[in-house]
């Protein structure tokens, strides 16, 4: 099962796959101009983690990390730390 399906199957509102962000977090999927966050985790102590899934030779670039963090910052007024992490599924 794909990683995103596994995450959805957990039914945890604080740990979610395919979260779109534009003016707010949680726009409808694929909303025009939105940025898609692969996996979002609200740690609930004012820390939010964004996991950017990469495979092969692709890497998380600084500009992309900044874009993801900026979108999340707009939509998460209680978050004090937003951590963007490159993630590589091991299998």
């Amino acid at each position: 099962m794909a990683l995103k399906n596994q995450i959805d199957a957990l039914r945890d509102p604080d740990f979610r796959a395919e979260v779109s962000a534009l003016k707010n977090l949680n726009e409808t999927y694929g909303a025009k101009g939105s940025v898609r966050i692969d996996v979002f985790e609200n740690i609930r102590n004012e820390i939010v983690c964004i996991y950017d899934i990469k495979t092969g030779k692709s890497v998380l670039r600084g500009s992309r990390a900044a874009e993801l963090a900026a979108k999340a910052f707009k939509g998460l007024p209680s978050a004090r730390q937003i951590i963007v992490i490159e993630t590589r599924p091991s299998r």
């Binding site: 794909a2 995103k4 399906n5 949680n26 726009e27 409808t28 694929g30 939509g75 007024p77 209680s78």
Partner: protein, 230 residues
């Protein structure tokens, strides 16, 4: 990805058995729409084989071009995921919507109800509505809580909040440049006129004019000395 045609075919029978529902695009709305949008949305995923189901609530106190899912709950299947290949998808989905979403949505009737729902820390820990100063000024104003609206405007106009950062400039200038001066002048007629304009804009953009019922905001039906209505 899931298409509007698929959603229409899937949800049409649900709309036919509830006289307070209307289907527009990917969303079944509760009608009539006054100052709140309440609905059940089929949210697409990156895969054509499945979708997610959310029940968002939104106030109409700012101009919007889409329905965000920011303040929403999830509708879950009894097991697994919502898959188009499920032979009993329609029955399972209707039961889940009728049990998980519609009772909760029908209970949210007023702007005060929306404020309470969307500001729930347990449900929306990282994005409770009351912390979105830029968004809540309009709601506070519409609810008639002008003291809170003034406090919000003062925070915005201090320039020290996150809401004045460049990427939010358009929304920031709209609120601080149009609504906040009316609040400062205690111009209730002006505030109401502006809020109705914003409401009408969203109604048009979301193509829900046929289920929209224009009504006065609480701001308009209370006297200046009433303060916040409950």
């Amino acid at each position: 990805m899931t298409t509007v045609r698929q959603v229409k075919k899937l949800l049409k029978p649900l709309v036919e058995r509830h006289d307070d529902l209307a289907l527009v695009g990917f969303t079944v709305y509760l009608k009539p729409v006054r100052h709140l949008l309440r609905g059940v949305t089929i949210d697409r995923t990156g895969e054509a084989a499945r979708f997610r189901v959310r029940w968002p609530v939104l106030n109409l106190c700012e101009p919007r071009e889409r329905l965000p899912l920011t303040w929403s709950g999830f509708v879950y299947p009894s097991e697994g995921l919502w898959l188009w290949s499920n032979p009993s998808l329609q029955d399972d989905l209707f039961q889940a919507i009728e049990e998980q979403a519609l009772p909760a949505l029908r209970a949210i009737e007023t702007l005060d109800d929306f404020f309470t729902f969307a500001s729930d820390r347990e449900r929306f820990g990282a994005w409770p509505f009351d912390l979105f100063t830029l968004l809540r000024v309009g709601v506070d104003c519409a609810r008639g809580d002008l003291e809170a609206a003034r406090t919000g405007c003062a925070e915005l106009l201090s320039g020290l909040s996150r809401w004045s950062m460049p990427s939010m400039r358009e929304d920031f200038e709209r609120v601080t440049g149009t609504l906040c001066p009316l609040i400062a002048a205690d111009d209730r007629a002006g505030m109401a006129r502006l809020l109705h304009e914003w409401e009408a804009y969203t109604v048009e953009k979301l193509k829900i004019g046929h289920i929209y019922q224009p009504t006065p905001f609480p701001l308009e039906v209370m006297s200046a000395s009433d303060g916040l209505s409950r």
